[in-house]
């Protein structure tokens, strides 16, 4: 089966192994090889990558902010290409999104804002 990287992969909805929404494919990492066609190694899921597509300085600014959230933050999360499979119109990866940093900002919002508001 052939895949068009921009039409069929970039900006596609990602779901984890349980079917939960896990962001979108914000970037695609290619490995360039001498004399051979490039190969896709990873996809990236991160506002850092998305913002850098609009403006590189914006991406770097967000990365610096994101780095303050804790160790391992400040860099885009990468999913190895072999871990992805296409199901209908979405891409599914073989991990639980809660065990990845994809929802780190959501967790931070939950702890610092939502759980402190009344009736949450």
């Amino acid at each position: 089966m052939s895949l068009h990287l921009v039409a069929d992969v970039l900006d596609e909805q990602l779901r984890d192994r349980n079917g939960a929404n896990a962001g979108r494919v914000d970037g695609i990492i290619l490995l360039l090889r001498d004399g051979e066609p490039p190969v896709v190694t990873h996809v990236e899921v991160s506002p850092i990558t998305l913002l850098a597509r609009f403006n590189r300085r914006l991406g770097r600014w967000y990365a610096r902010r994101d780095a303050r959230l804790g160790p391992g933050r400040g860099v885009p999360y990468r999913i190895p290409w072999p871990n992805l499979r296409r199901e209908g119109t979405t891409l599914r990866f073989d991990e639980d999104v809660e065990s990845t940093p994809i929802n780190a900002f959501e967790d931070w919002l939950r702890r610092t804002i939502v759980e402190r508001l009344p009736w949450s």
Partner: protein, 404 residues
């Protein structure tokens, strides 16, 4: 039987959700300023939104996708960023107008100044979104919105000229004040063809887990619900044409709007008007805040759903919370809801093609809809009305701004 009930409920909620401060104000200004001459703008706007609502329901039922989800996927992040910025910019103004409209209703009821009520209205809206399920918001608030039928009752009692209403269905050139005529027409179109309405409807279809078996129900809801909603807007125009136009009275303040029903229905009419304005604007506030939060969450692929607890979709919940805070700022600092409504409705019309044209491309994509893609009539109607609204807006907004 279950589907029949759902169609009935869908129609009722569509009618209840159609009228808000935008459609009430612009229809009243059209009737006051030009009698029955702008009936055509309500008719065109109603036809266009009925087509768009039917399409958005069909898209959700057939593709199991929401519109923003497919927009980001099909047109990429750059286009989605433009759509998001335009929708947020325009809809936040409309949100401010709706919060102001609900606060104005409380002011009319209590006599205490509008700005005092802005924060309570925003807090009640937030509480409903925070705690209530989608069903409560969609059905409960919209059912209460049926009180807007008061405008139809008053319009019948006003004994309007049905021949002149019929004649107003055909667009005619203005007899004077050309800039105001076209600006009012554009505002009526913007108030009728609210993008948040069909985004909300499409997300609702996903929340309610629609499939292809709902296509017939969807057509019925879109045609009858939007049709009756447009009929209520027409009733407001008729009331202003009968009561305001002959004496040259203009709608310059939301207090003027109470005079649409009180001469015909007395004190009861006044209270029904206050209830209609308050509930309609509160319902629209909830729908706009939810629609924009859906747009953001679906575009970025987050977890979302009004039926989830706020802690389970924190980004979605915080998004509508922030939108309500930002939306409340303009009425809070004293911007008149009527002025805010006028400009936001015209800007909505001007921005229509940004959301509508790519949506039409999606509606013709077999990858999403299989055999249920758009027909030529649907494409032509929505395309023509949206482009017409843009052209009229580009011409009339500067003229109106310069004129005033």
């Amino acid at each position: 039987m279950k589907k029949f009930l759902q169609v009935g409920l869908g129609i009722v909620t569509s009618v209840g959700g159609f009228l808000e401060i935008g459609s009430i104000t612009t229809a009243a200004q059209a009737g006051a300023g030009f009698g029955y001459q702008l009936v055509w703008s309500i008719a065109l706007g109603t036809v266009c939104i009925a087509f768009l609502v039917e399409m958005s329901g069909r898209f959700a039922a057939c593709s199991k996708r929401t519109i923003p989800d497919a927009m980001r996927e099909r047109f990429g992040a750059n286009f989605f960023a433009i759509l998001l910025l335009v929708m947020l910019g325009v809809s936040l103004l409309v949100l401010g107008a709706e919060i102001g409209g609900a606060a104005a209703a409380v002011e009319l009821a209590t006599g205490i100044a509008l700005p005092v009520w802005v924060i309570p209205v925003a807090v009640v809206s937030w509480l409903l979104l925070w705690r209530a399920t989608f069903g409560v918001i969609e059905n409960g608030v919209s059912m209460l919105g049926l009180v807007t039928i008061v405008f139809a009752v008053a319009a019948v009692k006003a004994h309007p000229s049905y021949a002149e209403i019929g004649a107003g269905m055909l667009p005619t050139l203005p007899h004077g004040d050309t800039a105001k005529y076209w600006f009012t027409a554009v505002s009526v179109l913007g108030a009728s063809i609210s993008p948040y309405l069909y985004y909300f409807y499409s997300s609702g279809a996903i929340e309610d887990k629609w499939d292809a078996s709902y296509l017939g129900a969807n057509r019925g809801i879109a045609a009858l619900g939007m049709g009756f909603g447009g009929f209520l807007s027409l009733a407001v125009l008729v009331l202003a044409a009968v009561l305001f136009h002959p004496i040259g009275k203009d709608v310059q303040d939301y207090h003027d709007l109470t005079q649409l029903v009180t001469p015909l229905l007395g004190r009861t009419g006044f209270w029904l008007f206050v209830a209609a304005l308050g509930i309609a604007c509160l319902g629209a506030t909830l729908e706009i805040a939810l629609s924009l939060a859906y747009l953001v969450a679906q575009g970025f692929g987050w977890k979302w759903g009004e039926d989830l607890e706020p802690r389970d979709d924190a980004r979605f919940s915080v998004t509508y919370t922030l939108l309500l805070v930002v939306g409340a700022i303009l009425p809070l600092i004293g911007v008149d809801p009527l002025k805010l409504t006028e400009i936001s409705m015209a800007l909505t019309a001007a921005s229509l093609p940004v959301g509508v044209l790519p949506f039409l491309i999606l509606m013709n994509d077999k990858e999403y809809l299989g055999k249920k893609t758009n027909g030529r009539i649907g494409n032509a109607v929505v395309l023509c009305i949206s482009v017409m609204a843009l052209v009229l807006a580009v011409v009339s907004i500067p003229l109106e701004v310069l004129g005033s």
